[in-house]
């Protein structure tokens, strides 16, 4: 018995020693790993700013390039001279490494110049609060073009982007909402693109508005109401046709005789445009 106890105790002791050695090794490893990781984090520098809206679309470059080539080659071959690589580059440089609350229209000027193209007269179709309907319409009736049917709008639709002063310069985690700061990359882009789209319009232009919206079909805080109507050129544009649409089975909050439509008409008439309005244009 004592002999067996002796060997058992030795075995126990060995096991204990081995266990302690393993624990020590694990501890050392953990400390080493932790120091490597924190050093790497410190080398990366300051963290990126945090915002409330979704971050830059992943694979933005591939998406934008693919859309640019798709638009030019497959849809509008007459734009074959457009250099999609340069266009992507000019978009990237508009926001990369910049604080996303400090974006200006100058930042987008090169992109706007490279990607803009003439719009045939009588084909411009503006819209407000009718996103779904207006784009289904232009997909099946290629006689009209919304901003999202131009190269600039087509590339940027449903995509988001913003930069950050720290590497790698693009923030994929979050981007500022308009409520956080107005001069963010997305808002500045769409304001500029809308302004140029309005400036390029000629002949008869159309606008599709939503007569089922409680707040009124025409709003002066919308992009249409604050930017587009003021950038239509009276020397180029002769008439504005309003298409006032109601949700199927929805309320008829406003018709062509409505309050906000009257306001829109007076603003346009003051700028010398002829106006017509049609309820539920077909």
């Amino acid at each position: 018995m004592p002999f067996q106890q002796g060997s058992a105790r030795t075995r126990q002791r060995t096991v204990l020693l081995v266990g302690i050695a393993v624990l020590l090794a694990a501890l050392v490893l953990a400390v080493v790993l932790a120091s490597i990781l924190t050093r790497r984090e410190q080398e990366d520098g300051p963290k990126m700013l945090k915002w409330k809206d979704r971050g830059t679309t992943k694979n933005l470059q591939e998406v934008i390039l693919g859309r640019c080539y798709n638009y030019v080659m497959a849809r509008y071959p007459e734009l074959r001279d457009k250099d999609c690589l340069k266009i992507w580059d000019s978009l990237k440089h508009a926001f990369i490494y910049k604080n996303p609350c400090n974006i200006t229209s100058e930042d987008y000027q090169p992109l706007m110049e490279l990607a803009s193209h003439p719009i045939p007269c009588n084909k411009s179709l503006f819209w407000s609060k009718t996103n779904d309907l207006v784009h289904r319409y232009t997909k099946s009736n290629q006689n009209f073009l919304t901003l999202e049917d131009t190269l600039l709008g087509y590339m940027a639709d449903r995509v988001s982007w913003c930069g950050d002063p720290s590497a790698p310069g693009i923030n994929y985690e979050s981007c500022p909402k308009r409520s956080e700061c107005e001069s963010n990359p997305g808002s500045v882009f769409w304001k500029m693109a809308s302004k140029m789209f309005a400036e390029a319009a000629c002949g008869v232009v159309q606008v599709m508005l939503n007569g089922s919206v409680e707040a009124g079909a025409f709003g002066s805080s919308s992009i249409f109401g604050s930017i587009e109507i003021f950038n239509l050129n009276p020397d180029k544009v002769s008439e504005v046709h309003i298409w006032l649409m109601h949700d199927i089975g929805g309320p008829q909050s406003e018709s062509c005789l409505g309050h906000s439509i009257k306001r829109l008409k007076s603003i346009l008439e003051a700028r010398n445009f002829k106006i017509t309005c049609e309820d539920n244009y077909r």
């Binding site: 693919g66 080539y69 798709n70």
Partner: protein, 203 residues
């Protein structure tokens, strides 16, 4: 040399871009896909080959990499009304037509072919199906149609054109030759046929 249009310019950028567009924006529910691998598999199906010797099964790897399930009751088959189907399906919101799947989305409306003994794409011309059946584009859509039909389930819909010359149900046709034979009896509960006439077209 051939009678058909040549390869679409910037084919690689368009296919890769559409792939990312699909997984990031159009239908992120399909999860992560390796778009560069998908392009390679697609290209290797026809690059360096005589464009009259490309078979549907050459696209097997491409299909495997780009495959995702088709939600039950959402399949929409069609003949002779491509634009109507596109807008009716609404990019998968209402129905998921073949062009609304990843494997159909990346190549819809594009054209491509290679040449024997060359690693390049032929931008000059590509064979039409009349010139030879086993051409890259025809074989692609045959493989894609077979796959689409095999994985359709529940109530399936087919939209036919009642104003088409020769009748609403064309034989031969993709639906007749590659889709109907590959519908799975155990998966499909019902087939709903819609015959639609062109507005102001013949009945």
């Amino acid at each position: 040399k051939w009678k058909g249009e040549g390869t679409t310019l910037n084919l690689e950028s368009i296919v890769v871009g559409r792939c990312y567009d699909y997984i990031r924006i159009v239908n992120p529910a399909v999860g992560e896909k390796n778009c560069l691998e998908i392009w390679e598999a697609f290209k290797n199906a026809f690059i360096g080959k005589d464009p009259c010797s490309v078979l549907p099964k050459d696209y097997e790897l491409f299909i495997n990499l780009s495959f995702h399930t088709i939600p039950p009751n959402k399949s929409l088959f069609w003949e002779n009304n491509r634009l109507l189907v596109n807008s009716f399906a609404d990019r998968g919101h209402r129905y998921m037509s073949l062009a609304d799947t990843l494997f159909g989305y990346v190549t819809d409306f594009l054209n491509w072919c290679g040449q024997a003994n060359s690693t390049g794409l032929d931008y000059e011309s590509c064979p039409t199906t009349e010139e030879c059946e086993n051409n890259p584009v025809e074989s692609f859509w045959r493989m894609a149609s077979i796959t689409y039909a095999q994985h359709s389930s529940g109530v399936i819909h087919v939209l036919l054109n009642g104003s088409a010359d020769g009748g609403a149900y064309p034989v031969p046709g993709f639906f007749a030759d590659y889709e109907i034979p590959n519908l799975q009896r155990g998966k499909v509960s019902e087939i709903v046929i819609w015959v639609v006439d062109d507005i102001e077209g013949p009945d």
